[in-house]
């Protein structure tokens, strides 16, 4: 897996590179600005880009724009966006065009190396990685008549992990239950929320996120 990192804070950039190299992953370039990042994408043809949202010159959303441009130049490029804050509206916007090969994580998740590597591999393999914080915000802001209250506590846990982009196996490992049990929970959730059942993780993320978004409290 060939990886390019775009992060303007030198300490963090080298920290992430160090961590990934220690895991024998192939970090082909580390860059500190949108321009050098795009040049590196052209030159090194990476599989995955890890991109900070805030980068020079204005430190607002340069990272996002650079990631969009990189995907335009190199379709199929997986992008994992790292952010210092979680902004749910922002996540929604980012994921509006589709959740394939996309991740949106808080920066400190990198420190949970196992989970971070899972997310990285998932995104590289075509899946999705949504930060638990984004999912938590989506869940707390839904209307009271959204149907979520019909879910059991365990079903809500499963729903949250589905929304993060985890597959059945990963969910069963996280919750220490069998895959069969996870499968059963998911069928029940889809039935209670009136969603068309599917086992494919990527389709599921889109369906669940859209559902949560549509049931947002207005105003």
């Amino acid at each position: 897996m060939r990886i390019v990192i775009a992060e303007d804070d030198p300490l963090l950039r080298e920290g992430v590179a160090l961590l990934l190299r220690a895991e024998s992953l192939d970090v082909v370039a580390t860059t500190d600005s949108p321009d050098t990042f795009l040049a590196a994408v052209d030159a090194h043809r990476p599989d995955v880009a890890i991109v900070d949202v805030r980068m020079p010159p204005t430190h607002t959303t340069e990272g996002i724009e650079a990631a969009v441009e990189a995907r335009r130049r190199r379709p199929g490029l997986a992008v994992l966006v790292l952010s210092a804050y979680v902004e749910q509206a922002f996540a929604t916007e980012l994921l509006a065009a589709g959740t394939d090969r996309l991740g949106y994580l808080l920066k400190e998740r990198v420190g949970r190396v196992g989970e971070f590597l899972d997310a990285l591999h998932r995104v590289a393999a075509g899946g999705t990685a949504i930060d638990p914080e984004v999912v938590a915000q989506l869940l707390t802001r839904t209307r009271s008549d959204s149907g979520l209250e019909r879910l059991t506590a365990r079903e809500r846990d499963v729903l949250a992990l589905m929304a993060e982009g985890l597959g059945n196996t990963a969910i069963s490992e996280r919750l220490f239950v069998s895959e069969g049990a996870v499968h059963k929970h998911i069928r029940s959730i889809f039935a209670k929320l009136d969603l068309a059942p599917t086992d494919r993780a990527d389709r599921r993320v889109t369906a669940v996120l859209r559902y949560l978004e549509e049931t947002q409290r207005r105003g």
């Binding site: 804070d9 300490l11 160090l18 210092a84 190396v113 971070f116």
Partner: protein, 439 residues
Amino acid sequence: MAARQRKPADTRRDDRQDGGQDDRHDGPRDGRRGVAARARGLFDAFEHLVGGLGTALLALAGLLWLVLVALTCVIGLGLLLAPTVPRVVRSVAERERGRLSRWGPEIPDLGPAPAGVRAALADPAVRRELCWLLVHATLGLFLGLAALTLVMDAVQDITYPLWWRALPVEDPAPTLVFWDVRDDADAWAVALLGVGLAVCFLVLGSGMARLQAWPGRRLLAPTADMDLSLRIAQLSATRAAALDAHAVELRRIERSLHDGAQNRLVAVTVLLGAARRALAQNRPGADDMLERAQETAEQALAELRTVVRSILPPVLADRGLADALAGLAANCGVPCRVDVDAPGRCAASIEATAYFVSAEALTNISRHSRARHATVTVRRESGRLSLRIEDDGVGGADERHGSGLTGMRSRIEAHDGRLTLTSPPGGPTTLDVELPCGS
């Protein structure tokens, strides 16, 4: 009359503010400075009197126009010209307001005069302007002419021994000299008279300037009710500035927290994660990573301290403005004397503003002024905190170049305070700040 509160004896403040000689000094060390300031005060008084003479001539012209219009009313022509009178009076009065605002409390402009004679006469501001016109065209004119004559005669007489021999014989004495000048002794007597005239101006000059300005300060300043509406407009503007300054400040804090401590802490978690991973898999390098994590955490703490200090310096909260400023002076690149006589505490936001303005000013002095000494003086009286920062550097500080001064001004005006910068090319630079701080 001094339009501003007179300051206690040891306050060295800008005496040009009221054309007087408030300037006194607190020791022989400041003697030469005191004399220089006194001379400057006298020069300013002369300048004000001559400036006043200018507006007095305008007032006289306005008064003559008024009389002319009144007389021609008899033949009807005056009735057509009458509406011009309030406009003429207002434009002369605005000129005087501008002049007085330049060296004393600001007198706001009132805008165009009411249209129509009846409306104008109903307006108390116009009636007060008419009174002022009468007084300034007579008393103001007299004082201005007297000062000019006094100073010119003094100069003429003092220098008389140098050039009296060049005069034709039939013109033996200058103005105000009632004896014939035949030899050097007589000429030196003329010079003595000149010295007498100069002393006269020395004693009377600033009083004359104040007396000349007094009708304007009394009659052209807004009355209580007008003052209130102007005050509301001004307060609305400064309140908006306060909110802006607040938002800018929050943005600055957010940015420095994000770029500093937050990024460091994220790096710490990344390094800790990598170290744990290495330990769990029995790979080498964990200790190295832990050491880097610790260093990074220490940097995060240092940056947090910097941010916290920039929000409200702990020394300011614990020890007060005097000690906080002494700390600033100790770290200043230019030798700096701090003289604080401000008993009691002001509101935290006022003290913080005074502190940051001083910090910014001292930074500017270290960077740009090439000064050898700087002085920070703080006084508190009648509900105002006055802060003065002086240096003996190259001057030429300009508010339009460099956002530091603009930032200072908005921060000060947000608290309804005032900032005055005097920085002629060649120096010295003086920054005067006044902040309201309750009583």
